[in-house]
Symmetry: D2
Subunit: 333 residues, 4 copies
């Protein structure tokens, strides 16, 4: 199976470099006869494109999705659904400054070493833009999940040192503006909650629900950590406080607490599935940084232009999309 | 691909319930012509079986591995290597107390709901004993990795509230003995370090090194969190402190720091690969707990016998084994 | 995915050399809650072991299947079903005559070249005995298919130059005895018919029903050809005679003829699925043959002992088993 | 793994309906740093498009391949290579005559039954046009194989009742013109030869060289039979005539004959790999045929327009392409 394919039953194969002809994907295994809500896909792409406001990167992308196959008269055929988004033109010279440099904590170096060649323009395949196809496919996955009454939501719960269960968009932007003024970037934590996952989703031993979710999350650029339920906090806990005791709730077996994050033994238990995802700071910062060029000479790398200072909130639709595909793939097994 | 198979090139398929006839596995894709060090496998199994001392569970298991195929005159044939360990006899009546009960934070409930049937004896397939085949295969993976000079080590860095980069075995046992006296269990964090991973291991987009490591770690019972490099700490950091700048170190391109955990863009960069794994407390505790039985009636569950109070240190060889298989699978791609 | 695994949903991983410790397999993906008919499995193994009589190879094998996991109180658990059959002891010296020789049209040479090592005893992994696990898994597949009312039958339709739609066992044995007297071996054709395959089985583009059946058949030793429906005869036909016109048969859409073999566009159409499989003559014959040894020296190879002279009728249960697994794997998709 | 993906290491995922927006594919696993010969791809597509002359279907297709990703400055990046060919406009009304009819021996019926929906225009996904992406990917595979000195050739050896090892293009066209005048279609056999396959290609047990080749061939529309080496003729043969004895040919171990088709035990033996593929007659014929419509009513189906009367010679580049991908996928394992 190719490394650019996610999923076994609802399979997404993605392609595309940031400044190549197009980026896109092929969904294989989508059920037939579904009416696709194209507006919802566009709305999800808009969420990814703009974040919530001015602190976000200003690349003007129309991100118009063109469906190439698998849909007939608005309905899925059961055949592969291919789609693409054309990349806007950029003059090659726009990227001459990074052509021969390995930017710190970017993947210029590892791609060059692994493949012996790389498309340096905008990070090529390793650009966050390469996640766009995940949002298209994830949006379709969400539409299918909604027919099972399964819904996914995500929240920023930490930006740098600031923690909150209920950040407002204004608070987030205020923090990011401060970081921007300091010509720096910052990390974040996102919390995801999935409601109404039925009991039984997840396949021991190696396709446990948490394993597939983790694989999905670590596919996202800048993700450094994943924990479900109490996660790393569980390491500090005693069994007597961390266990979820079963109760009979009006004839339904439920757990009295949900430290487990809705998963036991790799299988959903009917409670809310919840987990946290940690993002490192965006590696591009508006300060001069020491690095080396492709010849190995030490040089100073100084960025121009406008760049995001934090992966969130733009990453939220990506996180939700990967979550949707992970759960759908196990659900329709 | 079956859910009980890990890996694409060095593939392990595991089988077995805790008290069935045997547990074991089949390794497909092991290179031919290797001389297997059987003593090293036995030693790794001993590490898993005994932990370091008396706080550990007392099940008497000889864990003798019987190789069924794939090895001829001590050398691998390139054909599937099947192996098994017979389970010691247990009287079915030994498990009558849990036959009709859903133990809190165990997977009795989810297995029963998913499959409509379960082998209740000792947790059946969800027993930690089902990880034993991973240690056999992981030991062989380690032997192969050592021919590449790649070595894996793991340490307990946290038990409950206690944190240390250098716990002694005595300290660990002292903490666990205290927990045991309180008839409770406790969580832990394990740190893993992999030395000499060459540049280029990991396959964007969906088989990134961190994705495969995460999938591997979450296959292990009781694991609740995985982070690599700075992990969740990176969420609190600024780009200016988290970035790893490149330097020319005697003609070799290296990074001056290693917040990245040896991975950039999903591909190893030649630095030490390091990550942390969080374990929840063992759910079995020596106190009465509220729960429900299979009919949905609320009952009190009170355990007898001797049980582990912490996943570590017994989990260390399992963590290392899954790490070895993850890296080998990507390395021999 | 390992090369020793067949199927994606009902997955069989096989292992074992002819004279290693054991041969066997692991079935992953078998539905839970099934009551296994062990006698039926034994009967299928008996068919494979003995063919119909004295022309068959005389190796005394008890072929007792030992189930190691996945079955609890006679029912499938939904977890991997591992099983093995121990190989009877053979003195290594029994095979000294072929240890250093590449037998004509056997795979001694290709295994040695590919792996740099081989288990020469009885052909090792390339022995027809390595198909035994397919019969175990195929028997279980047949049991599941029978719950869908799907049944599989196979017939010998050609042995050497002799062709018949209705060979009796006596006729077959008479032909084989003649071949045996001539110290030679002979090829054969087997016809397979599968009744009651529902419409819709098969997955374009690359998992078409005929593709999966073909992959299955060519897994069987000595198979040289596969054709479905009219097969190679269709090459001689005109469209006007080969087309299957649709008719309305009491409200059900059927085809008036079945040149297509029950498959159109890779998908079953509800008619009988039928196909033919060609076997080459068994390469071991009781005559001296020219060959080379492992050093490349030309030598004469002269066989002792008793050997089959034809793959059939012993191959019939193997053919049916692979058919059952192919259809089941696509059916439960 | 999706059913529209072929290969494990050199993976092609195809998409597209005959009259949808575009058809195309994504190649995952192509080595990096290759200079692509685009002219050769165009030439292979031209072979597929036109066959050799006037008996061929007259659809005017420019078949211009647009590469969307994975190639930078003419070289492969090691990332997914996506490509597409836009479908020429067709008025929907052009296909009104077959919208509600199940054409005999086409897959209208099976697609409709399986998916509950179908794109009827030109056969939709089941059109032979959907094989075009295989030719693009297969051409790239051929280019890579040529660097190993491996070459593939194919010949028409039978058309209807006519058999020849050396049909000229004129002879083929003459036969097809006759068939056309009779308003009929006809089947054919193609022979494929692969030179310079090194010893060791093929993976027992279930990814044997012949198994993968067979899966590849049966992916092609209208293919009804596959045999390698002597194939079905081997069924008529004695071991003494079918065996390939080994000889020492100037220090190289070779076989004196090649009845085996270059494969023993599923692994190439260094001799020429050769096999035959049988095609049924094109199901569309210029005569009225009985059939049923989607409501189940019996109707007469009468075709207009111009259609191929035989799958060959247009199928030759498709056969070669699938062969190239099958061998490459096993070779770079």
């Amino acid at each position: 199976m190719g490394a650019n394919t996610f999923g076994i039953h609802f399979c997404l194969t993605t392609f595309g470099e940031s400044h190549g002809e197009a980026i896109g994907g092929v969904i294989d295994g989508c059920p037939s006869g579904l009416t696709i809500d194209f507006d919802m896909i566009d709305e999800e792409l808009r969420r990814r494109r703009t974040g919530t406001n001015s602190a976000m990167s200003q690349r003007k992308e129309s991100d118009k999705v063109i469906f190439l196959s698998g849909i007939f008269e608005g309905k899925t055929l059961g055949t592969p659904i291919a789609f693409m988004v054309r990349n806007e033109d950029a003059r090659p010279s726009d990227y001459d400054d990074i052509k021969d440099i390995y930017r710190p904590s970017h993947s210029d170096f590892t791609y060059q070493q692994k493949y012996g060649i790389r498309d340096h323009r905008g990070g090529g395949r390793s650009s966050a833009r390469a996640l766009l196809p995940c949002v298209v496919a994830g949006s379709i996955a969400k539409q299918i999940l909604s027919s099972y009454n399964i819904s996914i939501s995500s929240y920023v719960t930490q930006i740098g040192e600031a923690r909150s269960e209920a950040f407002s968009a204004e608070e987030i932007m205020s923090i990011l503006d401060d970081v921007k003024k300091e010509k720096d970037s910052v990390g974040a934590v996102v919390r995801v909650e999935v409601d109404n996952v039925p009991v039984g989703v997840g396949e021991p031993y190696f396709r446990k629900l948490q394993s597939v979710l983790a694989q999905a999350m670590f596919s996202i650029n800048a993700v450094k950590g994943f924990e479900y339920g109490e996660g790393f906090r569980a390491a500090s806990m005693r069994g007597s406080e961390c266990n979820d005791v079963f109760v009979n709730s009006d004839g339904v077996i439920r757990t009295a607490s949900n430290h487990s994050g809705g998963i036991q033994g790799g299988i959903s238990n009917g409670e809310k599935v919840w987990f946290n995802v940690a993002f490192k700071p965006i590696p591009t910062i508006m300060r001069p940084q020491q690095t080396v060029d492709v010849k190995g000479d030490e040089v100073v790398y100084d960025v121009e232009g406008r760049h995001d200072v934090c992966a969130v909130p733009r990453a939220l639709p990506v996180v939700e999309s990967m979550t949707a595909m992970a759960i759908l793939d196990l659900l329709i097994h």
